[in-house]
Homo-oligomer: 355 residues x 2
């Protein structure tokens, strides 16, 4: 957990600030460029067709660890994590390009395993692999996936359309991937210290699966289509609920109120969090890598989703000046922080780790 905290904060710096800072002086000039940097995917329009394009980079020992991630799952996860950005625009991914850099420690068989996972994800999500590049690397593995998707322009959902009064909804449950990571990191440490120990992951299949082989929520996009729901804004939960809420609020110029007791947390996630002395709510708010969809809806659409077991209404949109707040189970109102794991107060042990 120590390590992940550090990693996440570096990644967040990257995701939140660095790319904005670095690209702020860039202007787009082509009429084909409908939307550039700043959403889950860029939007290209030509011949009256709209296309979504997104790219993600995955680095060994930052995004995955060969000690506990089978290559086939790494390949699978790179694809699902990437196309999740296309679904988050309410679009259908159809193509990917995959570039890999491999150090000499990797054999051809290792690369084949990686591509077995890539192929499994492409088949499951009906994606064409249309290009890529390979390179050697000095150390470790780097993978980049560019995802391309399509939607009618009128159906594309950005981060920027949420309105005051809209409901905030999230698919599935949160925090599982993070607790899976904590378990895997703990077992790795145990293994490194006492080589003959067997991993103790019994009964943890759900959270381990959430970490190692996440799915993209294609089904939610299809469900929304079936229900004739067009979200007003949407984003996928890759960095953690809290940070995604900040994105939606910033891009839509709104505030949000979240109810702690509405956060969807799987029982296994909950139990594992307690085992690690992490408040389950913190896990759900800041965990990341769940690849669930977070979206806003006009209140008038509530009846359409109220019976869906896979969509939770967790809060609502307010005016920007009202800020971003979570209403705790005890009824107190706490400002949300995009980063930092101590939003809701962690145990003394874990808060001292946050350096």
């Amino acid at each position: 957990m120590f390590e992940e905290k550090e990693k996440t904060s570096i990644e967040r710096l990257g995701e939140f600030k660095l790319i904005d800072h670095l690209t702020s002086s860039f202007e787009t000039k082509h009429k084909e460029t409908l939307l550039g940097v700043g959403d889950d995917a860029a939007i290209i329009k030509f011949n009256n067709a709209t296309q979504l394009v997104s790219t993600e980079i995955f680095i060994e020992n930052i995004h995955f660890d060969m000690m506990y991630s089978p290559l086939v799952h790494i390949g699978y996860k790179c694809i699902t994590a990437s196309i999740s950005d296309i679904y988050a625009m309410n679009a259908t991914p159809k193509q990917v390009l995959v570039s890999i850099a491999l150090s000499s420690k990797y054999t051809l068989q290792a690369a084949e395993e990686l591509y077995t996972g890539i192929r499994a994800a492409c088949e499951k999500y009906n994606i064409d692999l249309i290009g890529g590049d390979t390179s050697s690397s000095v150390t470790g593995m780097a993978i980049t996936v560019t995802s391309i998707g399509y939607a009618d322009e009128s159906k594309i959902v950005k981060r920027s359309g949420a309105k005051e009064g809209d409901l905030l909804c999230v698919s599935g449950d949160l925090g599982g991937a993070y607790m899976g990571l904590q378990l895997l990191e703990r077992e790795k440490q145990v293994f490194l210290e006492t080589k003959d120990m067997q991993p103790d992951l019994e009964g943890k299949d759900y959270v381990i699966g959430r970490q190692l082989r996440p799915e993209a929520r294609k089904d939610i996009i299809e469900l929304l289509e079936e229900l004739s729901i067009l979200p007003t804004s949407m984003i996928d939960v890759s960095d953690g609920l809290s940070s995604e809420i900040f994105h939606l609020c910033k891009n839509s110029n709104i505030g949000m109120k979240i109810y702690e007791d509405k956060l969807p947390i799987d029982q296994q996630t909950y139990d594992t969090a307690l085992e690690f002395n992490v408040p389950p709510t913190t896990t759900a708010m800041n965990g990341g890598e769940d690849y669930e969809l977070l979206f806003t809806l006009p209140q008038s659409q509530y009846d359409k989703i109220k019976n869906s077991l896979d969509i939770s209404v967790i809060g609502y949109c307010t005016a920007a000046h009202e800020g971003k707040e979570i209403i705790t189970k005890s009824g107190s109102v706490v400002p949300l922080e995009a980063q930092g794991w101590d939003t809701l107060g962690t145990t003394e042990e874990s808060s001292t780790e946050d350096n």
Copy 2:
């Protein structure tokens, strides 16, 4: 030179064999996917518009070396090298997505310098930066650029259209980038051994520039358009003339004959090659990173290009069974090798290095 030989052969294995091997079991399913893996760029078609997409990965100490590559040039080169693939399809690049992974040794200022180069290239080539991703890395820098371009479908030139009897043409001159690399590697070694030495690069500005800050041949695509020439096949010279010839021959199912005395070699490249005991022809055949365009034309088009100082006719296409051969200045006929630096016989010293 020792090091580069090894690097190149690893990269070539990657470019030639690994990606084909890894993706051979993938099938494309979507009607939008006109062409997948196997050319300079993939071709996407929707609403009767055609689009080209290509991705390239650049890894520190494989593709660039911070000892002698200013970050601003690295940024510039990543863009030009990537969009070169779009020009090689006879198309116009309009968008790029850039992902970077940086280790903690890099400061914000370093990232800004990189993006200064990226912006300079985007401005020069009229490209919109529309997306990207940032990540930390454990060691070094990784950059991935996805380039997107456009062309009328009837104007797209693949690797596969060359016909027996077609002329083989190349833009600019060859081998310069490779000799620039040799110089920079030599000065690096000198510097590492005797820290107070100043680099001795006087009079080498051309080859150094070819290595550090190459251009993409947008002007050649525009010239071909002006001359109403549609090449029958085309590829950019990124891995070396010899290997690109192998690609064209394989994809077009033809053979080729090349004339050694027609190879365009700049005087500075020539002199530097001799200084390094490398036959200039070897440099031109195998050097790589020149980002010139190699293309084939029907003989009937010869009159249109014969007066162009920037296009050299270096050979012609034969039947596949005639193989790939170079006719040396002395008139002997030597089979071409895609890889290996000893095609034309290097000096004894350098050939013993090729292990």
